[in-house]
Amino acid sequence: MRFIFKTDYAQDIRIAKHGGHWFWYGLLLALLVAAPAFAGEYLLTQLQFIAIYSIVGFGLMLLVGFTGQVSLGHAAFLAVGAYTEGLLQAKGVPFLISLPAAALFAGATGIIVGLPALRLKGIYLAIATLAFNVIVEEIIARWEDLTGGNAGLLVKPAVLLGQAVESPAAFYYLCLALAVMVCLGMINLLRSPTGRAFVAIRDSEISASCMGVNLAKYKTLSFGLSAAITGIAGALYAHKIAFLSPEQFGLFQSIEMLTIVILGGVGFLHGAVLGAAFIIFLPQGIAIAKDWLPPGVATSGVQAVVFGLVLVGFIIFEPLGLYGRWLKIRTYLELFPFYRRGMFRRQKAYAKSERLR
């Protein structure tokens, strides 16, 4: 077990708290940077997807995990980001301008959705955001002049500093760099007053407000930031898939995005990445498992069923997600043999604040 002797207040706001952090995260980053040298094209594509979905996870984690607001409509922000990027790219706008534009436009949409959400909580908020998702999907399908409707929209490779980002390795580095930047931004936010205000809203709205946190402002801000980050992911998604159509951004996509956050571990940044990796590798795992199943069972419905079962299983048996499981294992090893079963039991994150109303 590691003991950290604190001699300086600055120690508590450092990103890497001790040498172990430097070593392991450094090693991870080195491996990720070196990946194109040893990974095949298939694995590289998976890594690109994990980076993109990690950004999605970060965005949604900010809203669901740290501010305690549910959203079942985040695919809509992904769509806004993706279509903004696709349309600007078609007009020849360089990536360095179209990417911030996609983020800003998605963020503005998020703020518009966030405003009515100020009056809604829990399941009602989920339904409202779900309705928003359906509206956006419908708009994209109907506005054929702009989006190409159900016929879809082709997206060319990104043009970065005059160079088309075409090779898998180059696009991989683009995704990785953006994922790391978003991650650092999130870490910084969470160790600043704004991040603390978000967490305060999640834990107890009434006392957050009594500490001077403007609930309306911070909830809207959280929606906006979350949507903007999802918009960045949407822009990368557009280039990755290269073909956008409305049905890619339906309810199932939203649920998949929420699954990233819940499987990974609500309230942990690590959770976003773990959840993204899980979501990407799960279909592969199912495909491999299919070979072992009797022929009659291996039809197309298996993936959705497994998906649902995994989600329900996690919510019931591992509410802290994959990262929570890792924390438990680590604590078990550190404290062996003194680990107790109830050590990680928690109250529901957003059921409590409704007491005084």
């Binding site: 207040y9 600043s192 603390r196 305060a200 009434i206 407000s209 009594c210 109250q347 005084l356």
Partner: protein
């Protein structure tokens, strides 16, 4: 500022607002349907005193706190703080003006450490813009260290160093009560509202609480408005007491005066006939 200026400043405020008291509640009332939970309550606080509101259960004490905290909109009356009318402001503005409160049933951030809880108390002293925080600029870093130092002062003051990094959810009730007090102090309030600071505490912890309240008044010079049941605590720390019954004020004065007031005895024990 010369004394003349101060006088002129004050008279200008008087014209603009109508109250010169440090904190004043004027004819405050609220109705829930047909029930007048609070009705015609008026009192004024002097800077640096401990003022306690007592009364039997259901007398409307906590409701007054929620009215001052703007959690309920008042049906009638005015609340003045420093010459400013508080009625109609958003709830978070109260903290920004320098009023902090604790809750009867402890409303802490359970999933956070004691330190993180107290840092939220520093929210009204933040200065950074969002983009600075996203980049964690040197300015934000300096500000964070300054906030930490301010919080450490409160930790020292209330003797919480032992619990600094523990999760609040796992701490005993008595300690959490002190942490809530600490979080309120971390905002550096000028007026502190304490809702039953001794509820759920054993006699020894209540004794400590009385000690903290005296310290807050004498060392920090913070004015305290308190709702309390424990009469020994009230008598020990309060400068003045207001007794309520069924939402209406029945007596006001020093603790001894109020305790022996016939209306108060009747409210608590009932009359003879």
């Amino acid at each position: 500022m010369t004394s003349n200026d101060a006088v002129r400043e004050r008279s200008r405020e008087e014209q603009a607002t109508g109250s010169t008291a440090f904190f004043e509640v004027e004819n405050l009332g609220i109705r829930f349907g047909g029930v007048r939970a609070v009705d015609g309550v008026s009192f004024a606080l002097r800077p640096g005193e401990v003022f306690t509101i007592i009364g039997p259960n259901g007398a409307g004490k906590t409701t007054i706190f929620n009215l001052i905290g703007l959690i309920y909109p008042a049906s009638s009356g005015r609340i003045w703080f420093d010459g400013r009318d508080l009625t109609g402001l958003a709830p978070h503005r109260i903290a920004e003006l320098g009023i902090a409160r604790t809750f009867q049933n402890i409303e802490l951030f359970e999933h956070a450490t004691v330190l993180q809880n107290l840092l939220i108390g520093r929210h009204r002293h933040r200065r950074s813009a969002l983009w600075q925080e996203l980049l964690f600029t040197p300015g934000v870093r300096r500000a964070e260290l300054a906030q930490r130092e301010a919080v450490e002062k409160v930790i020292d003051f209330l003797d919480l160093a032992h619990y600094r990094d523990s999760l609040v959810g796992g701490l005993p009730y008595g300690v959490r009560k002190v942490i809530e007090l600490a979080r309120a102090l971390a905002t550096e309030p000028r007026l502190l509202l304490l809702d039953e600071p001794s509820s759920g505490l054993n006699p020894e912890e209540t004794d400590d609480m009385a000690f903290w309240i005296e310290d807050i008044k004498n060392d920090l010079g913070v004015t305290v408005l308190m709702v309390e049941h424990d009469m020994s605590l009230v008598a020990r720390v309060s400068d003045r007491v207001l007794a309520l019954n069924e939402g209406r004020p029945i007596a006001q004065g020093t603790p001894a005066e109020v305790q022996s007031h016939p209306a108060v005895i009747e409210a608590y024990l009932g009359s003879e006939d």
